[in-house]
């Protein structure tokens, strides 16, 4: 823990700049430059900009990571020509989409058609302000940050259905309905699985939850909740095997059939943002966030920004598992998906809550700390 916080960096930067600016222009008119409120406001803006940039770059890197990893699963290479090993391929793709003409189908509803992708993207980005990527690398210690993140996360079906309906396309409508049904169905097991974590940790604050995992990571006692959470996240992220809202075999592109250019890029980006958020949440809730087990050699855990580093490593590893699942499983059908959701996942989640309550009641959790090879 270096004590370096993102807000601290932003604040320091702004203070340094403004003080020097004031030093160059030492006139009382410019005294507002060193006003505390102005400094704070600008710092928040810079903080937000850094966060936005970091999350965007991370998302694009995530797409690259998926493409390369999926390539290896499929005995091919993935992107490899733009930049080293294709690192810049997605930037090139984004540029291409940005340059493309955005068009609207004649019958489509303009308001919904244009607002939905933007709102979807914004609602996904909002969560990044809440999630702590390391100590001090988030919007600070909100007492209910976990709950807030999940609430914002569950805005998505609304926007998806809005866009699906406004496109005036039969495939989009079917895709939108599937998507709404699926996301709402899987909210329930996700929340229940999170409740298990909350019971064990006793807090809704993500930072506290991570800190509680110093001794042992929560996937050890809460394996069942982890399975439920990951399955639910797969459905929420609309990834294979649960990607049937955009099942390209029957629904062309599902609820974003009619989108092209930048609006499509918004959807694409939001999907991967949500994938990144999902991986973040899995790491935060079950794999100890930015903490590392004690048996890891010291040099590996004591360098600047090591928390952030390990957090990202874990995130990408979790996402790699998602990619692995994508590479090896076919898609399920809507009715089967909902049946799995309501009739398998919800009971399992309830069971995991019972287990969590039991673990807390019999006070055997500290014993897990004695297993140094598994975590903590």
């Amino acid at each position: 823990m270096t004590g370096l916080t993102l807000y601290g960096v932003a604040n320091g930067l702004i203070q340094y700049l403004l003080t020097h600016l004031y030093g160059v222009l030492p006139h009382p008119y410019f005294a507002f430059l060193v006003n505390g409120a102005v400094v704070t406001g600008l710092s928040v803006l810079v903080f937000a900009a850094i966060l936005l940039g970091a999350s965007m770059i991370n998302t694009i890197m995530l797409i690259w990571f998926e493409r390369k990893l999926l390539g290896r699963f499929m005995d091919r290479r993935g992107a490899m020509h733009v930049g080293y090993a294709g690192l810049l391929q997605n930037f090139a793709d984004g540029l291409k989409l940005f340059r493309k003409h955005t068009y609207k189908p004649h019958d489509a509803d303009a308001l919904g058609f244009y607002v939905a992708p933007t709102a979807y993207l914004v609602s996904s980005l909002l969560i990044f302000a809440i999630l702590p990527a390391s100590t001090g690398w988030g919007a600070g210690a909100l007492p209910l940050s976990l709950l807030l993140a999940l609430v914002v996360f569950s805005f998505a079906p609304l926007f998806i259905f809005l866009s699906a309906w406004s496109q005036a396309n039969k495939y989009s409508l079917i895709g939108g309905m599937r998507s709404a049904a699926q996301m709402i169905a899987y909210e329930v097991p996700i929340l229940l699985a999170v409740v298990a974590v909350v019971i064990v940790s006793g807090s809704f604050d993500l930072t506290t939850i991570v800190t509680m995992q110093q001794n042992y990571w929560y996937w050890i006692p809460l394996l069942l909740a982890l399975v439920v959470f990951v399955t639910g996240m797969l459905a929420e992220m609309e990834r294979i095997p649960f990607d049937l809202p955009e099942a390209e075999a029957e629904l062309v592109e599902g609820w974003n059939t009619e989108y092209g250019g930048m609006l499509f890029a918004f959807f694409m980006l939001s999907d991967y943002l949500r994938a990144l958020i999902g991986s973040f949440l899995v790491v935060l809730l079950f794999f100890g966030g930015w903490t590392m087990p004690g048996w890891v050699p010291g040099p590996l855990t004591s360098f600047p920004l090591e928390g952030l580093f390990w957090f990202l490593v874990k995130t990408y590893a979790v996402f790699g598992v998602f990619v692995w699942i994508r590479a090896s499983l076919p898609r399920v059908r809507t009715d089967q998906l909902l049946r799995i959701g309501w009739m398998r996942m919800v009971p399992l989640a309830l069971l995991s809550i019972v287990l969590a309550v039991g673990l807390v009641l019999i006070r055997c959790l500290p014993l897990l700390g004695c297993l140094p090879s598994l975590g903590g």
Partner: protein
């Protein structure tokens, strides 16, 4: 009709759920980690020597199927020097993409004609190179043809000759004369001995032989003609039919020697 709700459980794989496919994909991942089996096309090519012999990598290990290009039917190569302008390639083309065009050199009155191929139409069936009696039109392993203008798809004989000069691997050359085939026969009374067939014969297998001028009988007029008749050397004839088409009196035809 109602949807069938009962699903026949055909195997016991539900026990394993998804473990088997996950393991299979993981195995593939490990195998292709070092070297996936794709060939990085513009930089590596299937016709590279290393792929021609042994190493066709599939899933990280060579299994030894070299790509063989012996019979490959790509862009044609034309040896202008040996082309005899027999037209057989143009006749045999199902897509009518071969035109016989004049090439420099040769008799100015009867210029030499060689095939020009429109690759916009060509289907690479190889009938033309099969038909070529001299083995001068063959097919190479070249397969990249992208151009920006449609006119560039038309390969003039000189350009085909350039392909020939690149010495790409070519399909096996067969120089053969057809056997068991109809011959060129002469309807002698119609012939005027004009030498057109012998002049235009690509293989020069027609010779004009003198025939005796008949003695004039009383009351009969001797036709005015050159007293020569073409004789076809069947072992050299490629059966291209040029003589039939140039004959002004239509006195040559296909048939079998009795």
């Amino acid at each position: 009709m109602s949807p069938p709700e009962t699903e026949a459980e055909r195997s016991n794989s539900s026990v394993l759920w998804v473990a088997k496919p996950l393991a299979t994909a993981a195995r593939q991942f490990v195998k292709s980690l070092w070297r996936p089996s794709t060939i990085v096309y513009p930089f590596e090519r299937l016709e590279d020597p290393k792929f021609r012999t042994e190493v066709r990598v599939a899933a990280g290990k060579p299994i030894g199927v070299g790509a063989v290009w012996d019979n490959y039917r790509g862009v044609h190569a034309l040896n202008i020097d040996t082309c005899i302008s027999c037209n057989l390639c143009a006749f045999s083309c199902p897509d009518l993409c071969i035109d016989m065009v004049t090439v420099p050199g040769g008799d100015p009155k009867h210029p030499k004609k060689c095939p020009q191929i429109d690759y916009g139409k060509c289907s690479y069936c190889g009938f033309c190179s099969d038909a070529c009696p001299e083995g001068c039109l063959t097919m190479t392993t070249r397969y990249e043809l992208s151009v920006t203008k449609r006119a560039e798809m038309v390969y003039a004989p000189e350009r085909l000759h350039e392909v020939y000069k690149t010495k790409l691997p070519m399909s096996p050359i067969r120089v053969e004369r057809p056997q068991n085939e109809d011959s060129i026969l002469l309807d002698a009374p119609l012939c005027i001995g004009c030498n057109a067939c012998a002049r235009d014969c690509p293989t020069k297998c027609i010779t004009m032989l003198d025939i005796p001028k008949p003695a004039a009988k009383p009351g009969e007029k001797i036709p005015k003609r050159i007293w020569k008749e073409p004789v076809v050397n069947d072992s050299d004839c490629v059966r291209c039919g040029t003589c039939i088409s140039v004959c002004p009196k239509e006195c040559l035809f296909w048939g079998t020697h009795r």
